[in-house]
């Protein structure tokens, strides 16, 4: 174990700071640009000479855009809600069904278990694009086009999550639940009272990954929706960029608001997430 701060450490710290700077600079520029008045957007200053907060109410449709002389009529708040709502829905369903299926694959004994699990693993290899086209057709047949259900349901069942939680549950000693079973507890009781609490780190990691992924999902909502009342933030941002792409200051204000919840979630949960990801990955 080293106990001293050597010149080499100093160099390492400096290099790390420089790399960190290159990672942070685009974000700094984004925040800076979001506070620029529209007269200043062509300047190359990182910090505007006359910072203004007015871009945010414009994007949120509370004020007129000075360059247009009217409101943008974006449904930005609505898109926010849609993104958060679908991401929460997908995360909740996915963690719940994955945990239950993982229990069936790791604790119950039944005839076709390993074969069905192999089938799950096999589909993990198939690219999402192969599945998307028929999945779209199925959603059309089910009449779920342009509905929240159509956004949430197809994404709510994950083979990856099942796989990850199964690995977690296999790591829990069997003696714990066998004792309970012998004492006459039902599988449902064992699942709720013994296995779930012990699987919590894995479930939290899965939940964060799923939440971050669904909050940003783009392809599926893009092909599923043509009603801008239902757009999640990703598709809404694209629409915004297509119409008002030249208004960099407004786009950047929107981007800041788009990214802020992600950073919040990540900074709060980063410890769980890094641990869980590494555990799942190393075991898998």
């Amino acid at each position: 174990m080293k106990a001293r701060f050597t010149p080499f450490d100093f160099l390492r710290l400096a290099v790390l700071c420089l790399i960190g700077l290159s990672m942070a600079l685009p974000f700094l520029w984004m925040v800076g640009a979001s506070f620029k008045p529209y007269t200043e957007i062509d300047t190359s200053q990182l910090i505007p000479a006359q910072p203004t907060l007015e871009n945010y109410p414009i994007v949120l449709n509370q004020a007129d855009a000075p360059s247009l002389g009217k409101k943008l009529d974006l449904k930005f708040g609505r898109w926010y809600f849609n993104s958060l709502f679908t991401a929460f829905g997908i995360t909740l369903l996915q963690v719940l069904t994955s945990a239950m299926a993982a229990y069936a694959f790791s604790r119950l004994r039944w005839r076709w278990r390993d074969r069905v699990f192999l089938l799950y693993l096999a589909t993990m290899m198939i690219p999402g694009l192969v599945i998307m086209i028929p999945a779209f057709q199925i959603v059309v047949w089910m009449g779920l086009l342009n509905t929240y259900a159509g956004l949430i349901l197809p994404m709510a069942f994950s083979t990856f999550g099942t796989f990850m939680l199964r690995q977690f549950m296999l790591g829990i000693p069997r003696s714990l639940d066998e004792a309970a079973l012998i004492d006459g507890a039902s599988h449902w009781r064992v699942f709720l009272d013994i296995i779930l609490p012990l699987t919590r780190p894995g479930m939290i990691a899965l939940a964060i990954v799923t939440f971050l992924g669904s909050y940003q999902s783009f392809f599926w909502p893009l092909i599923m929706l043509n009603d801008d009342q239902l757009y999640p933030m990703s598709v809404g941002m694209l629409a915004f960029d297509t119409i008002f792409g030249r208004q960099t200051e407004l786009i950047m204000a929107a981007s800041v608001m788009n990214i802020a919840p992600l950073i919040l979630v990540f900074v709060i949960f980063q410890k769980f997430m890094v641990k869980g990801l590494q555990l799942g990955a190393v075991k898998g």
Binding site: K2, R4, F5, D9, R12, L13, V15, C17, I19, G20, L21, M23, A24, F27, L28, W29, M30, G32, A33, D42, Q45, L46, I47, S98, M100, A101, A104, L108, W110, L119, M125, P127, L129, V130, P134, A135, Q137, I138, P154, A156, F157, T159, H187, L212, F218, F219, S234, L238, D241, T248, I251, A254, S255, N258, V267, Q270, V274, Q278, A281, V282
Partner: protein, 479 residues
């Protein structure tokens, strides 16, 4: 023993919800997609559903004669030459792994071939094709030079002697020469039935050249983050952080007074990061490096689109200042709007976004799992840092590297949709359209679901082959 019926109901209870969703939204779509690939399924109401056999795949992969005649054996010969090239490449990998005799001569041949390709690419200067030739040449050059090392256990008396390892480079050379000779005649009389598919396949592969940089960069970052800083007691940390903040404030004020507000802000940010580093150690850097990859979505791409903006974007502003400073001629590069620069610009963005992401975390986990005795023993035996890295750490990381490269290649082959849709609309002149974006265009703009499904299965086959090759050779390297 419990009764069978009870077990059945329990399985239904636990597995039911997930299995139901799995069947409806995954298993069944896979089967259906496979069936669709053999039909002309379309969302246009005027088109009736028909079974068309292999026609979709033929339209995608085959050539057609330009004059409308039946066609001759030339396309087959052309395809054969291409296959010979591919076989040669596989042979090179195989020779390297099983240490065939004659590696040096084979390597020299390969390196020469690579140099010739680079020169040819530079000479033709075709914007798209030239890039590809230069790239392939560089790969051949690099592989050749690596190939020229003498593996231990080889016949050291005749290091340049011919051996079976000469065969694969000869195959590549023969194949390439045949392709070159037939190229003119081939494309004077034949055209690919779907020329766009080949262009987009090339684009997809080109955009994947960021992967090795990203993986190596992740490894470097992970190694820098692996050792904690010995910062001493808590007051030492606080003092260091405070000192950094003070430096930041002073430099910020000084630079601002000197009329360089941008440098003032950048300097302040640098010292702030350093202060965070002192306060929270490696965790601060890990979080910061991970920042681009968990925000990697549409918002980040829109941000980069603004950064690359040729007129008001900051990247060009910096370039212009650098050019004026050194008195160089300056012409604003139109990053995303030019055929030659669009792909490299996207590759750069991709490396920036993924370098500190999942791969870095995986490497960090793997580095922590290396037993300390191993590196200590090597140190005691007097191994240099490079040798410790090469012969102790790198082999221990092999499973992780293998996993990361397989996942990156699979992701890369399927990737490119988001950036094509958000940043470039696949342009200019289709130069950033990848296969995934092509599938999207065909399926949801042309409404040709059958044809799109056929492409997705061709893509799946390519991914499967890449994974198999990776698996075969990756496992060998691990041992």
């Amino acid at each position: 023993m419990k009764s069978r019926a009870k077990t059945f109901w329990e399985v239904c209870l636990f597995l039911g919800p997930n299995l139901g969703g799995f069947v409806v939204f995954m298993a069944f779509p896979v089967l259906m997609s496979f069936a669709l690939a053999f039909t002309n399924w379309s969302l246009k109401p005027a088109v009736g559903l028909e079974f068309v056999g292999l026609r979709n795949f033929g339209d995608l992969l085959l050539f057609r004669p330009l004059d409308g005649s039946a066609g001759g054996p030339l396309p087959l010969a052309y395809l054969g030459a291409g296959l010979v090239c591919c076989l040669g490449v596989l042979g090179v990998l195989w020779a390297q792994i099983s240490s065939w005799r004659g590696l040096r001569l084979g390597g020299a041949l390969l390196a020469t071939l690579g140099a010739a390709l680079v020169l040819a690419g530079a000479a033709t200067q075709a914007p798209a094709g030239g890039q590809g030739l230069v790239l392939a040449g560089l790969v051949a050059l690099l592989t050749g030079v690596l190939h020229m090392r003498l593996e231990p256990g080889q016949d050291e008396t005749r290091p340049w002697g011919p051996g079976p390892a000469l065969l694969p480079p000869l195959l590549i050379a023969a194949g390439a020469a045949a392709l070159w000779a037939m190229h003119g005649a081939m494309f004077a009389t034949y055209a690919p039935r779907d020329a766009r598919f080949w262009q987009y396949l090339y684009n997809t592969l080109f955009l994947m050249i960021g992967i090795p940089f990203s993986v190596l960069g992740s490894l470097l970052l992970a190694m820098m983050l692996n050792e904690r800083f010995a910062l001493g007691p808590a007051w030492g940390r606080t003092a260091g952080a405070g000192l950094c903040l003070l430096c930041g404030a002073v430099s910020c004020v000084l630079l601002w007074r000197a009329g360089m507000p941008n440098w003032a802000v950048i300097g302040a940010l640098f010292w702030l990061i350093a202060a965070l580093g002192f306060a929270f150690g490696v965790v601060a850097f890990r979080t910061l490096f991970y920042l681009p990859s968990f925000t990697s979505g549409v918002a980040l791409m829109i941000l980069w689109k603004a950064l690359y903006n040729p007129r008001v974007g900051p990247i060009n502003a910096v370039l212009e200042q650098v050019a004026t400073f050194f008195n160089l001629p300056y012409e604003a590069p139109n990053w995303l709007g030019s055929v030659a620069l669009a792909k490299p610009a996207l590759v750069f963005m991709g490396v920036w976004a993924t370098i500190g992401g999942m791969n870095m975390l995986l490497y960090l986990a793997a580095l922590t799992n290396i037993p300390a005795e191993l590196t200590e023993a090597a140190k005691v035996d007097g191994a240099s840092p490079w040798n410790r890295l090469r012969h102790v750490i790198w082999p221990q990381l092999a499973p992780t590297t293998f996993f990361i490269s397989v996942m990156s290649i699979i992701g890369g082959l399927q990737g490119g949709f988001d950036q094509a849709r958000v940043m470039t609309a696949g342009g200019p002149a289709g130069s950033t359209t990848t296969l995934s974006y092509y599938i999207y265009l065909l399926a949801f703009q042309n409404l040709d679901l059958g044809y799109a499904a056929a492409i997705s299965w061709v893509l799946f086959t390519i991914i499967l082959l890449a994974t198999l090759i990776n698996w075969r050779f990756g496992r060998e390297v691990e041992q």
